[in-house]
Amino acid sequence: MAIGHYLVLSGVLFSIGAAGVFLRRNLITLLLSVEIMLNAVNLAFVAFGRQFGTVDGQIITFFVMTVAAAEAAVGLALVIGLFRHRESLNPEAFTSLKW
């Protein structure tokens, strides 16, 4: 398979994730869409690493994974806290700072 195939797939996945962030209005689905985008980037990193015969792509993938884990932990804690406040997961419910 050519590197182009992997990059196109990565772009498709990233676009799906971005569309999810833009269009959905559920905090959990928003976080899941961010995970899709992170995974799309991981795929591009590993594909480039294979193309150039280096191990760096795989290592950066590990760092992205740890950041994703940290993001998921803090994000879900925030979701729990917000849900306790407003009994809702709709981002439109949290607009108190809007004038």
């Binding site: 398979m1 050519a2 590197i3 182009g4 195939h5 992997y6 990059l7 196109v8 772009g11 498709v12 676009s15 799906i16 971005a18 569309a19 999810g20 833009f22 269009l23 959905r24 209005r25 559920n26 959990i28 689905t29 899941l32 869409s33 995970e35 899709i36 995974n39 991981n42 795929l43 590993v46 690493g49 294979r50 150039f52 015969g53 280096t54 191990v55 760096d56 795989q58 290592i59 993938t61 590990f62 994974m65 740890t66 950041v67 994703a68 884990a69 940290a70 998921a72 932990a73 803090v74 879900l76 804690a77 979701v79 729990i80 806290g81 849900f83 809702s88 997961l89 709709n90 439109e92």
Partner: protein, 170 residues
């Protein structure tokens, strides 16, 4: 052919994540998508990444998501009642959001179509580096500083999550 099977699984799984109304189904579809990606990592001769993808992502992060979805017990999006309150806002938001997503996809397609040298097999030029020993050696030498910073990041995230999710003491 395996590539198309795994890629199809990843894309269909991701599409289901975005289109499902029930977050529980979204999480399960994302796990299916991760299995497809894991297969792709095997095809790219990165077996350790493939295994870590399953163990960390599908095993740990997604279980955390599923746990929170079930803990909060609000399976369905409550957009419907909100729409009735603001009849003008949602179509506009969807239009702008959809346009932004489409713009991003078009930009990516344009950038890829203008990039040369994307043909040829991914494994043609260099031999694969897939040994865990080599991975570990590079991780603990060249990427030593990033590794240490990552451990601090995880510690801070853990403390932050505990503090944020803790019930306020009366």
């Amino acid at each position: 052919m395996l590539f198309y099977a795994f890629a199809g699984a990843a894309v269909i799984g991701s599409l289901l994540v975005v289109t499902q109304k029930n977050p529980v189904y979204s999480v399960l579809a994302l796990i299916a998508s991760f299995f497809g990606l894991s297969g792709l990592y095997v095809l790219l001769e990165a077996p350790f990444v493939a295994v870590v993808q399953i163990i960390i992502y599908a095993g740990a992060i997604m279980v955390l998501f599923l746990f929170v979805v079930m803990l909060l017990n609000v399976p369905r999006e409550d957009a419907a009642e909100w729409d009735r309150a603001h009849p003008l806002y949602r179509p506009m938001a969807v239009r702008i959001g959809g346009a932004l997503a489409l713009l991003l996809a078009l930009e990516l397609a344009w950038a890829l179509s203008r990039t040369a040298g994307l043909g040829g097999g991914v494994a043609d030029q260099h031999p694969a580096v897939s040994s865990v020993a080599e991975l570990g050696r590079v991780l603990f030498t060249d990427y030593m500083f990033a590794f240490e910073v990552t451990s601090i990041l995880i510690l801070i995230a853990m403390v932050g999550a505990v503090i944020l999710a803790k019930k306020k003491e009366e």
